[in-house]
Amino acid sequence: MSSGAVGVDEEHEVHVHTPPTSFIWKYVFSTDHKVIGIQYYTLGLISMFVGVTLSLLFRWHLSHPAGEGVKPFLEGNQYLQYLTMHGTILVFMVLTTAPLGGFGNYVLPIQIGAVDMAFPRLNMLSFWITFASWVTLMAAFFVPGGAPSAGWTGYPPLSAVPEAVPEGATGMNWGQSLWVLSIALFCIASLVGAINFIVTTLDLRARGMTLMRMPLSVWAWFLTAIIALLSFAVLMIGGLLLLLDRHLGTSFFLPNDVWMAGIQGVGKEWSHKGGSPILYQHLFWFFGHPEVYIAILPSMGIVSHIIANFARKPIFGYKAMVYAMAAIGFLGFIVWGHHMFQSGMSPYLAIAFSVLTMTIGVPSAIKTFNWLGTIWKGDLKFTAAMLFSLGFVSLFVSGGISGIFLGQSAPDIYFHDTYFVVAHFHLIMGVASLFGIVAGTYYWFPKMMGRCMNETLGKLHFWGTFIGVYMIFMPMHFIGLSGHPRRYSGFEFDFLNTPEMHISHTLITHAAIFTAAMQIIFVGNMLWSLVAGKKATENPWEGTSLEWTMASPPPWDNFGGKEPVVHHGAYEYSVPGAAKDYVMQTDPPEAVPANAHQPH
C-alpha cells in the first residue's frame, strides 16, 4: 500500500497491471466484472434447471391424480415442498441473479465506458454471498424434514412453527429455517451489489456519456439497483423476526389462538400471544412487490436496447422510457397491499391500493406503445434476440392485462388464490423476464464468448418456447376463473374432479414438458457454439453502444487502456444523412449531420 504519494511516481516502479493467470484468481475469485457476471449467469442457469425440473414433477403429479389403485405421484408434503422450492429458486436465484447480477455486471461497466465496477472486490463478495445463499437453499433438500413447504412467501403461522406437521412428515423442520437463512444471505448480497451498481453508474461514466446518452439497459439496471437497495432490507427484517419466532419463542407473528392438527398449541403449552401473521405479510410484500419490478425492469431495458438495434431505429421516446421506468419503480413501492386484499383490510385501504395499482398501468402502457413505435416502419431484422424481445412485449401485455383484473379489490375476492393469479404472474414475471434473459443471451453471447450462436436453432427455440408458454399459461386463466385454487395437490372436491379440469391439467403438463424440452435446444446451442460456433466480429449486430467497439470477447481491461469518449446518444440508427444506418456512440461528432435531429 503506497504511503501517501501524490500523483505520478517519479520512481521507476512500474505498476504492472496484467490479468491474473492462475485458474483460481482468473475464474473463481475474480474481481473482473465480466467473470462475475458469467458466474451469476451460470448460477441462474443451473437454478433454472432445478426450478423447472421441480415444476415438471408437480405438474406430472397434477395430471396423474391419485385414484382407484393409482398411487399419487408425489406423497405427503412433497407437492408443497416442490412448489415452495420452485417459486423460491426461480424468483430469487434466477430472476434476480441472471438479469441484474448476470447481464448487469457484465454489460453495465462496458456500456458506460468504465474499466470495471466502482468496487470490484465488493462485487466479488456479493457474488460469493449469493453463492452461499444458494448452497444454503439447496441444502434444504437434504436436511431432516426436507425442503420447506410454506410457499415462496413463507407465511406464518405455518412457517413459524416447527411442529406444524405431524411426526415423521416432512416440510417444516430444518428446511424452513434454512430457507429463511438463505434469504437473509441473499438480502445482504443484493444490498452490497446494489450499492456497486448505483455508484458505478453515477460516477464511472466515460467522458461524453451523459445520463441521457446511456443505453436503456443501463438505466434499467441502475433503477433496479435503487429498488433493490430500498426493498431487500425490509425482507431481511421479516426473515429475522420469523427466525426468532421459530426458534427463540418470540411472538412477532404468532397469535395465541393457532390450531394445528386439531390441537390448540400442538398439545403443549402455547407461549405465544398477540402476534400477527398480517404483520409478516406487510413486511414481506413491502419487499415482494418491488421484487417483481427488480425481476422485470432489467429485461425491459435489455429488450428496449435489442429492439432498437434490430429495428434499425432509435428507441421511440427515449426520455419517456426513462421516466416510465422510474415511475414504475417508484409506484412499485406503494402498491404492496394488492397482494393482501383478502387479509381483512379495510375496503377503503383496498381502494387506495387498487387505484395506485391501476396507475402503474400507465407507465407500463407508455413503454409498450413506445416499443411498438420503435418497431413501426423499422427495417426489421428477425434475429433470435429480436424474436425473443418481441415475445417479451407480447407476454408483457398478456400478463399485464390480467393484472388489471386482479388489481381491483372486489373482483379479487373471486380471483385470489386461484390459477388466474398463477397465470398472471407466470406470464408477466416468469416468462416475460425469462424472454428478456434469453434475448440478452442471444444478443451478447457473441460479445462475451467470441463466437456466434446458431441463428436457426435460435429461431426454432423461440417458436417452440413462445407457443409452449402460451399453451401452458393461457388455460390457467380459465381453470382459475372456474374456481381452481392454487397450491392444491389433489382433486378431492367435486368441482375440481371434473373431466374439463383433468383435461386442462393434462394439456398444461404436456405443454410444460414440450417447452422444457425446447430449452435443451437453447442450452445445446450455447454449449456447442462455445466450442464450434462461428467466430464473432467486433460488431456482428451493427449496434451503436460501447460494447460493440471492442473485440469479442473483450480484453481484460475492456478498453485497452484508453478511455472512450462519447459523442452520441445510444440509439442513433438510420440517422438521415449519415453514412451508414447506424452511428456508434464513439463516432466523431460530425458523423451525425447538424440538422439530422429535431432540436429537443
Binding site: 505520478v8 505498476h15 474499466v115 407461549s271
Partner: protein, 231 residues
C-alpha cells in the same frame, strides 16, 4: 472494504494522450499509483473521486435505515394490535450507553479537527478516546441487558422485550462494524499516514459513526416512548 489513506486527489492532467486515439481521449495506461493499492491483479484506471466513497456509504446507510425503519414500524404495529404488550422500563444502563455514544461522536469530531490542523498527536489521542468510548457503548449496552436479565426479562418474555433485544442487538452489530473501521484507522501503520490531504478513511468512518449515533437516538426515543419511561 479496505480503504487506503493515500491521497485521492486526481492525477495531474496526463500529457500522455499520445499514441493515437480520439481527440481529448485520456490514456489510462500511464504510470502512477492510481488504483486502490492492489498490485498485479487489478486493472488500471483513474482513482475514484473522494465523492464516490461517500456516495457508496450514503447508499449503504440508506439500506441500513430502511432496515431499522421496517423494524420500527413493526414495533409500532405490534404494540398496538394485541393486549399482551407490557411496557418495558428502560434500564438506566441504556441512558449511560446513549451518553457514551454521543460523547464518542463529539470526540471523533475533535479528532477530525486535529487532522485539519495537521496535529497528529491530537488526532491519535482523540481518535483513540473515541474508539474506547465506542467499546464503552457496547459494554454499557451489555450492562443494560444484564440489568434486564436480573429482572428476569429475556427475549421471549414479552413483545416489548423482544423488540428491545432485537433493536439493541442489531444496532450493536452495526456498531461493531463501525468499531472495526475505527480500530483500522487507529492502527499505527494507518494513522501514521493520516494528514490534511489524506483523510478519506477517517472521514468515512466518522460519517458512519455519526449515522449510527443518529440512528441510536431515533431508536432510543422509540424505545423510551414505547417503553413507558425509565425504570
Amino acid at each position: 472494504m479496505a480503504v487506503t489513506v493515500e491521497t485521492l486527489q486526481p492525477k495531474p492532467p496526463a500529457a500522455n494522450t499520445g499514441g493515437g486515439g480520439l481527440p481529448g481521449q485520456r490514456d489510462w495506461s500511464g504510470g502512477g499509483s492510481g488504483d486502490d493499492g492492489y498490485d498485479g491483479r487489478h486493472k488500471q484506471r483513474p482513482p475514484l473521486p473522494r465523492r464516490t466513497y461517500f456516495t457508496a456509504l450514503w447508499l449503504g446507510q440508506a439500506g441500513i435505515f430502511m432496515f431499522f425503519m421496517s423494524l420500527a414500524s413493526s414495533y409500532v404495529v405490534r404494540r398496538g394490535i394485541a393486549g399482551d404488550w407490557q411496557d418495558l422500563g428502560i434500564p438506566w444502563g441504556l441512558w449511560v450507553s446513549t451518553f457514551v455514544l454521543l460523547l464518542s461522536s463529539v470526540t471523533l469530531e475533535k479528532a477530525r479537527r486535529a487532522i485539519t490542523k495537521a496535529d497528529k498527536a491530537g488526532f491519535s489521542l482523540w481518535w483513540g478516546v473515541s474508539t474506547l468510548l465506542g467499546f464503552g457503548f457496547v459494554g454499557a449496552q451489555l450492562f443494560a441487558w444484564w440489568q434486564l436479565a436480573g429482572r428476569h426479562i429475556f427475549l421471549a418474555t414479552n413483545p416489548s422485550s423482544s423488540f428491545f433485544y432485537v433493536f439493541t442487538a442489531l444496532h450493536a452489530l452495526h456498531v461493531l462494524a463501525g468499531l472495526i473501521a475505527l480500530v483500522y484507522v487507529w492502527w499505527p501503520s494507518v494513522r501514521a499516514n493520516v494528514g490534511p490531504g489524506a483523510r478519506l478513511a477517517p472521514d468515512l468512518a466518522t460519517l458512519y459513526w455519526h449515522f449510527l449515533d443518529g440512528l441510536w437516538i431515533l431508536l432510543f426515543v422509540l424505545l423510551f416512548i414505547g417503553g413507558g419511561g425509565l425504570n
